[in-house]
Amino acid sequence: MPSLGADMEAATLIEWLAKPGDKMKRGDVIAVVETAKGAIEVEVFEDGVLEKHVVAPGAVLPVGAVMARYSGAGEVAAPRPVAPAPAPAPAPAAPKPQLVPEAPSPVRPPPAAGLRTSPAARRLAEELGVNLTSIAGTGAGGAITREDVAASAHAPAGKKATGFDFTAMRRAIAAALGRSKREIPHYYLSHAIDIGAAQDWLAAANAQRPPAERFLMGALFIKAVASAAREFPELNGFHVEGEFRASQAIHVGVAIAIRGGGLAAPAIHDCADLALSDLMARMRDLVARVRAGRFKSSEIADSTITVTSLGDRGVDAVWGVIYPPQVAIVGFGKIGMRPWVVDGQVVARPTVCMSLAADHRVSDGHKGALFLERIGQILANPSEL
């Protein structure tokens, strides 16, 4: 079971998507697991062959537990003996890492074999106490959909936003960010800029585009942060085992609110190299999948810096909490018309307050200030994006 983020202790295996004998390539999805953040597709790290499933769907596994035997091109650790997969009741086999107080493992019945259901449908069935085997699926290939579950329970369909376990998600956020506040000496900087040039550029670009291809200011923010991060390696990477490891790649984590009170910050990979249209498409796809409760393991575990944009919620500025083991988070507040001095005159201009929270073990305010200033310069020349 891979660690899918600093806040994850354990996850439930929902289903295997590969069977013994399957040849797999790096990035192929081998299984779906359920974490506090929702269902996550687990990708394999290297090319190889799946030899054997070690655990069965329904098992709750701590990070580091053996899920399967897989022989890679390099080599994987020799499989350790593992407790047999629990059939009806999940029973963690390996000891849990005790970084955070142990949370009660959710006890879930394993999905009935051979049933095609979506994770959302399964969660809804659990919540409503519906037996999935008693439902006829109307989805693709006879799959049972959330609607089928809702209908069978005579519950109004679509009344509940998602099947997220918000209690577990809140606990996971508390664990990661509690650790952040205990361990990371944050320093904070803010920098207000005139965002008029970026707004004008966006309006002109979007006037030519159908809705499906329009940009959002949020995409410009992410691109600007990624571009600037290229020049400031001490703000992009991981602090692990007492030392900082700068990252060559720039994977920007995007803080995404989930209806009902959750939060996830999955990564958009290689942001600095993406054309804005590709970045925007990735962002739309990512937000949709996160809100539907499904994303990929690589997206959840490897952000190198995070961007949080709370402007839509109308606040002037946001002071981020660094998501460990990252070392910086950039925040954007609401864009609004505010008094601004241009050529010695106070005029109303669209402005935005940017903020940076960064890890003092790795960088200082001076570097942080140059970084924020650079982001501002990039946004002042949006055609460079």
Binding site: K159, A203, P211, R214, L216, A257, R259
Partner: protein
């Protein structure tokens, strides 16, 4: 296309974005983004869905005119009839 049919489409699409909000008791003259607690990405998805379903391409310059349910209904009705 009638006003009721357009309202049904608006209702449908907002239910996708904010399934827990009761459309029937929502204030139709309040900003959709506030009433349904949706962000700019959701709103863009709403506009995209209206384009796909009604063929009405709402330019950004007209976003203010479709920012409430009643505003959107009137705007879309006028556009599908022209």
């Amino acid at each position: 296309m009638t006003a009721d049919q357009i309202l049904a489409i608006i209702r449908d699409e907002l239910a996708r974005l904010a399934p827990e909000v009761d459309f029937d008791t929502a204030d139709r003259n309040r900003l959709i983004q506030q009433e349904f607690d949706i962000d700019s990405m959701d709103f863009l998805n709403f506009i995209t869905a209206l384009h796909a379903r009604l063929g009405v391409n709402v330019p950004e310059a007209d976003y203010a005119r479709v920012a409430t349910i009643s505003g959107a209904q009137a705007y879309l009705l006028a556009m599908v009839r022209t």
